[in-house]
């Protein structure tokens, strides 16, 4: 039980001017674990992800990947850490100037330096894993529906078979059926890879499908964390209000 966590955030602080977004955030993910961070809008979920990815610099604290503090890494050292990551963005963030297969193979060609033909074969395989045929490979991402874009984004996230995959609101903007399809695809792909995943979401249905563990972020801190099957029985008033989507509760009191 002394395994080094795959990902560990220790006392992470991040402010923008006088606005404190992360205020001593602590979170740990074991190898192969799937954690979903829930929380209201503007609670710092996206900022947390951006700090882990190195897109934002925390003001204080450590972000450890396999035991290595990555906060101050730059250049080649940062790129080495990024090879461990896959990311599905909220809007999928597909490159409009490239075809679907080129999007999926981007990390293989530009990041890993793989030949285009070999990368294309892998991209086609990953597209099939998310339920898209070879006929979609040459399609223009701009012409895809929201659900299709998410699938391509998921194929891109798993293409390099990363150790850690991040999902930013994977079901936002999708109808419930397509949301469920994406949730199941995420679960299947992650199980295939044995990857560790960190998801941020508002969607409790998504959290219940994907998560081994759920953590609630509020006021820049994790205020509750536990196994997904414990969430309905927890005695935290914030969690209770959030998962039931009730207007009354501590969140509402703060708003008024």
């Amino acid at each position: 039980m002394t395994d080094t966590p795959r990902l560990e955030l220790i006392d992470v602080h991040k402010s923008f001017g006088t606005k404190v977004v992360l205020d001593g955030l602590n979170l740990s993910l074991a190898k192969g674990e799937s954690v979903v961070v829930i929380g209201g809008s503007g609670t710092g979920k996206s900022v947390m992800l951006k700090c882990i990815l190195g897109l934002l610099q925390p003001d204080q604290g450590q972000i450890r990947i396999d035991g290595e503090d990555t906060v101050d890494l730059r250049g080649a050292a940062r790129e080495r850490v990024l090879t461990k990551f896959g990311m599905l963005f909220q809007s999928a963030a597909l490159f409009d100037s490239l075809t679907v297969w080129e999007n999926v193979a981007f990390g293989l060609i530009e990041g890993a330096g793989m030949e285009r033909e070999q990368a294309r074969a892998i991209a086609i395989d990953k597209l099939s894993k998310v339920g898209m045929g070879e006929d979609m490979a040459e399609a223009d991402p701009a012409g895809l529906s929201g659900g299709m874009r998410k699938r391509v984004g998921l194929a891109r996230a798993i293409a390099t078979e990363p150790d850690i995959i991040f999902f930013d609101e994977p079901t936002t903007g999708l109808d419930p059926i397509m949301g469920d399809v994406i949730n199941n695809l995420i679960t299947e792909c992650v199980q295939d890879l044995g990857a560790t995943t960190l998801t941020i979401s508002h969607d409790m249905s998504s959290a219940r499908t994907i998560a081994d563990r759920v953590a609630m972020l509020y006021n820049g801190k994790i205020i509750w964390a536990g196994a997904v099957d414990q969430i309905d029985d927890c005695d935290n008033a914030f969690v209770d209000q959030f998962i039931h989507g009730r207007e009354e509760g501590p969140f509402a009191l703060e708003v008024t």
Binding site: L82, F89, F95, F106, G107
Partner: protein, 258 residues
């Protein structure tokens, strides 16, 4: 409270902050040019977009500028009987000033806006973040190909614009002002010096660099959705046009001051 000193102070601090951000951006961009990998395919794509597809607008600008220049110089010089100077002044005016400056201004509008809009959209749709997570440096992948392509293709465009502009002047000189064709061409080539063309091409390279730099800088710093992209596009065009006019003065000083 609109204390004038406070307003001036805020303006000055904002100017310094922008200057600092732009300097850092320029430093990162230039250092990325010499660091591998270099994306040849993207650079060639950008050369087509910036250079080849700008040929019609630059060509039309040059043609009519040369034509109107010949007409105006003829009308002006006729006041003191110096009509024969038309070919000489047209070629010097075009190669030294009007060719590079007008081509630069047209490219600033066309290319600067396109770069800022494309990169700005990539920024607000998280595509720049996606590039980073895919271990790709956005400066090397997006900025360097545009900077290199614009710096190389703008002088080529200006050279073509010079030729078309002189041709515009020639056509008006021959068909409208009654010049002899052979004499007009002889005067043009006898009077033109290598330095006239070379200075224009150096200016063009500087203008191309500035246009791409402003497009990339404002695109990378856009925020706030569609409105932010629109603002970035406007800022890219305005700043590149102003910088072209400022740089034009200093390059001219460097070449021709005694």
């Amino acid at each position: 409270m609109n204390n004038p000193l406070a307003v001036i102070g805020r303006f000055f601090l904002a100017f310094l902050a922008t200057f600092g951000r732009l300097s850092i951006f320029t430093g990162k961009s230039v250092s990325a040019i010499v660091m591998p990998p270099f994306y040849w395919r993207l650079c060639l794509q950008q050369m087509m977009t910036i250079g080849y597809y700008s040929l019609p607008v630059v060509g039309m600008t040059a043609l009519f500028t040369g034509a109107v220049l010949a007409l105006q110089i003829y009308l002006g010089s006729a006041r003191f009987g110096a009509e024969s100077a038309v070919p000489n002044i047209v070629v010097v005016g075009l190669t030294r000033e009007l060719g590079p400056v007008l081509a630069g201004l047209m490219l600033g509008g066309r290319v600067g806006a396109a770069i800022a809009a494309e990169l700005g959209t990539m920024k607000v749709t998280e595509q720049l973040d996606a590039l980073i997570t895919l271990q790709t440096n956005p400066f090397r992948y997006l900025v360097v190909p545009r900077l290199v392509a614009a710096t190389i293709t703008t002088p080529i465009l200006v050279l073509i614009a010079d030729i078309i502009g002189v041709m515009g002047g020639y056509l008006v000189g021959i068909h409208r002002l009654g010049f002899n064709s052979t004499v007009y061409l002889k005067n043009t080539f006898d009077f033109m010096e290598t330095m006239d063309v070379a200075s224009g091409l150096v200016k063009a390279a500087v203008f191309g660099f500035l246009i791409a730099l402003m497009g990339c800088y404002h695109g990378f710093n856009s925020k706030g959705g569609a409105q932010g992209v629109g603002r970035a596009t406007t800022d890219a065009v305005v700043s590149s046009l102003i910088l072209i006019l400022i740089a034009n003065y200093f390059v001219t000083e460097a070449f021709f001051s005694q």
